[in-house]
């Protein structure tokens, strides 16, 4: 993507040229062909080439974020291993920015390096069975006990919990104040006694997610992120980064779900009907327009003028993924009656477009739920973008323990 006005010179006179020089110097000392992957990644972190916009000493150079692409391009060209970012997306995208902003120096030093190298995988313990859209209504309790906290509760929709070493966790520490004010944010050791992870099977048959049961789990107070009772504000940093991550991928024409359906249409003329043709063309148009809308958002970001359109992208893609995959099942006819298999698997990463049309249809149902339901997103658009008034709220000024259940 071309950037128009983004500053590309940072502190200490760091520009693309200087960064490129540093990468080459680093590569001269660490030949990817002969260096052990983990050692290479650790060295890269220590050289400040992990995320150049992070501070020096924490994997960065205090350089502008845009210069990261220079680093990545040089390293890729040199055949260097990467840190498999899809596998550790929660750590990179959610935990790291939160630790950077709210963590103590000790926490940053302890957690960021193995997080970035992938040696320690992170997961997120936010949602609960009774606290989905209303995340701040969560019930998991953390009770202070000397230098530590004792945590009890149940979390759900946790990707990668079974592989994770650490979790970011929010829990209620004060039920006597309104719900947003009684929450505290922790780093939870997933290997601690009392942490039980169970796969959560979903409608596709797969178990991408887990339920996590917390029973008398001890968390040292040193693993608290931010102040006691300030967890909701800390969590906002995490969630903001989640939304950006979900809406941010660039998509070429026919790059999304529509490409799969268009290919089927082109390759299998015997399936075509006039009615399906009109519907396919409508969805093709809608998909292309959604792609352009996302592109426009990226151009706005690139010139440092983000518009509110970003809020709508997830809404649009959820609707399209659902409509297109639904059409594809119908188009396939008899083949649409079949499924690739119902054996429970635990995929490491999410796949919206894989397997068969039935899988895509079922998986797409989650697109309007995960990471903020479409209903909540419409509220956000109406209130924050259009400025319409919020509805009467009865849960903002009442102590959490006194809310109706």
């Amino acid at each position: 993507m071309t950037t128009k006005t983004t500053a590309t010179t940072g502190r200490g006179g760091l520009d693309a040229e200087e960064v490129r020089r540093r990468v080459r110097a680093f590569l001269a000392e660490h030949d990817p062909a002969t260096t052990d992957r983990a050692a290479f990644l650790r060295a890269r972190f220590d050289a400040g080439l992990a995320w150049v916009h992070f501070p020096e000493g924490l994997g960065g150079l205090g350089a502008p974020r845009a210069l990261q692409s220079v680093v990545d391009a040089e390293l890729t060209a040199a055949g260097a291993p990467d840190n498999d970012p899809r596998r550790i997306g929660i750590g990179l995208g959610m935990a790291a920015p939160t630790i950077l902003r709210f963590g103590t120096e000790e926490q940053k030093a302890r957690f960021l390096r193995p997080l970035w190298t992938g040696e320690e995988v992170w997961c997120q313990l936010f949602s609960e069975p009774g606290a989905g859209s209303d995340l701040a209504g969560l019930r998991t309790r953390a009770v202070r006990d000397g230098d530590a906290w004792t945590v009890d509760g149940q979390k759900v929709w946790t990707s990668n919990a079974h592989n994770a070493r650490w979790a970011i966790l929010i829990a209620r520490t004060d039920p006597d104040v309104p719900k947003h004010r009684g929450i505290t944010y922790f780093v939870c050791d997933m290997t601690a006694p009392g942490v039980e992870v169970r796969p959560l099977r979903q409608i596709t048959g797969e178990a991408e997610f887990n339920e996590v049961f917390l029973t008398d789990v001890r968390i040292p107070d040193a693993h608290r992120l931010g102040d006691e009772g300030d967890g909701w504000r800390v969590a906002q940093t995490t969630l903001m980064n989640e939304r950006v991550a979900i809406g941010g991928g660039a998509v070429p024409r026919e790059g999304g779900m529509i490409g799969v359906a268009a290919t089927t249409w082109r390759e299998r003329p015997e399936l075509r009907t006039p009615g399906l043709h009109d519907r396919l063309l409508r969805l093709w148009v809608d998909s292309e327009v959604a792609r352009l809308t996302a592109e426009r958002v990226r151009q706005q970001l690139a010139v440092g003028a983000p518009g509110p359109e970003g809020s709508g992208l997830k809404l649009a893609f959820a609707r399209l993924n659902q409509a297109v995959s639904g059409l594809e099942v119908e188009l396939l006819g008899e083949e649409g009656l079949r499924y690739h298999g119902w054996e429970m698997t635990r995929p490491e990463t999410v796949d919206f477009f894989g397997h068969d049309a039935g899988y895509r249809y079922l998986r797409a149902k989650g697109n309007s739920i995960e990471g903020g339901t479409s209903e909540i997103l419409r509220n956000i658009v109406a209130e924050r973008v259009l400025g319409l008034p919020s509805e009467p709220r009865i849960d903002k000024d009442v102590a959490w323990k006194d809310l109706p259940r």
């Binding site: 209504g137 099977r201 409608i203 079949r338 339901t373 109706p404």
Partner: protein, 375 residues
């Protein structure tokens, strides 16, 4: 348009519904259906025996003199509403609707036809009509199976509903006498029934391969018998779809009436209320359409092809919409395997393809009601 259809439920139909519902409430809760989906026996044949023989559902459409209940499509429709609501894994559609109406379209005076009907009616055997489940009224006679003069069949029929548990298969095939229906027992040498992995876990399908299998051509059979069965099947499937949609609506209303978020009952949020009102309107509309189709089939109305096409075009879409809203408005829990919403979603989506897609039925209507295509 012929006489105004009777769109209500008679007292007899209400009683029948109550009977079926009692059995299903007792024997077919969602947890049992889910557990069975993970077993090696996707069908609940114990339940089927209770319904088939005990409640007489297997022979609902069979005349009394052949051991059936002598009821009509109206009553079968009521049963299908209940079976749809429970996504009950029983071969009612294949055996008591498709196979039965196909046989009734042959010559029921013929002894073989009569005996087959008697066996289906008593529940002594389970039958199905060996066509791909996606075939709807108005398709041309299938050409995938050939018969020789002795009734020996060769060919394949894919995606046959209820074939995996059928003792008797009725196979459309073309022989020296032209197209007709051939009956054989599923354990006849040369018959292979291979279950496929279905999107709809509660209505399995299987591929039937015939490799020199000896069958009997049924007296009086021909394309009209097949077309009659597909018309009846499509019309009655609409009622099953009403049952699916009604369950989805009821369950969502119930859940949203209990679930709290933001200190409020979620069902008090207006945007959700309006969407449920729209689903409700579609369900009551689907019910009227399905009743009209069932009544037209029951009375042999000349309007039946129109009524069936209207009902299928509407109810397929209404059921999918209701199931999709059910999952969405349940949100997280609706995406889990442990909640039965996905069973209804899969049934609804598969049923959209079954016995003709909505688009197929609209294309049929274009001809039936004189709204010709362009060009």
């Amino acid at each position: 348009m012929s006489a105004t259809p009777d769109l209500l439920y008679s007292d007899v139909e209400d009683d029948l519904r109550a009977t079926v519902r009692d059995v299903l409430t007792d024997r077919c809760p969602a947890s049992a259906v889910l557990a069975r989906c993970e077993s090696d026996e996707p069908y609940d044949l114990g339940l089927w025996r209770t319904l088939a023989a005990g409640s007489g559902l297997a022979g609902l459409l069979v005349p009394e003199k052949l051991g059936g209940a002598g009821a009509s499509a109206r009553e079968a429709a009521v049963v299908l509403e209940e079976l749809g609501g429970a996504v009950a894994p029983v071969p009612f559609l294949g055996s008591a609707v498709l196979a039965t109406t196909a046989l009734l379209g042959c010559d029921p005076q013929d002894k073989r036809v009569a005996r087959l009907l008697e066996d289906l009616a008593s529940g002594a055997s389970v039958g199905t009509l060996a066509v791909p489940l996606t075939y709807g009224p108005g398709v041309s006679f299938p050409q995938t199976v050939r018969a020789d003069a002795d009734g020996v069949l060769t060919g394949t029929v894919t995606s046959v509903a209820d074939a995996a548990v059928a003792d008797v298969l009725l196979i459309p095939a073309t022989g020296p006498e032209g197209p007709g229906l051939y009956a054989l027992a599923s354990d006849t040498p040369g018959v292979r029934v291979a279950p496929a992995v279905p999107l709809d876990l509660t209505r399995p399908i299987a591929d039937v391969t015939l490799d020199g299998a000896r069958a009997h051509r049924l007296a009086g059979s021909g394309p009209a018998a097949l077309e009659g069965a597909l018309l009846a099947g499509a019309g009655l499937l609409a009622s099953e779809q009403v049952g699916v949609a009604q369950w989805c609506l009821d369950e969502t209303v119930r859940y949203l009436g209990e679930r709290r978020q933001f200190g409020r009952v979620v069902g008090s949020f207006q945007a959700l209320k309006h969407r449920l009102a729209d689903v409700w309107l579609e369900v009551v509309s689907a019910r009227a359409a399905a009743r009209a189709a069932a009544d037209a089939l029951a009375t042999g109305s000349p309007d039946a092809p129109v009524a069936v096409a209207v009902a299928q075009a509407y109810c397929s879409t209404a059921a999918v919409h209701a199931a999709e809203e059910c999952v969405q408005l349940h949100a997280g829990i609706g995406m889990t395997w442990e909640h039965p919403a996905h069973l209804h979603l899969k049934r609804a989506k598969s049923s959209e393809l079954a016995l003709g897609t909505p688009g197929h039925h609209r294309t049929r209507l274009a001809t039936l009601v004189d709204l010709p295509a362009a060009g």
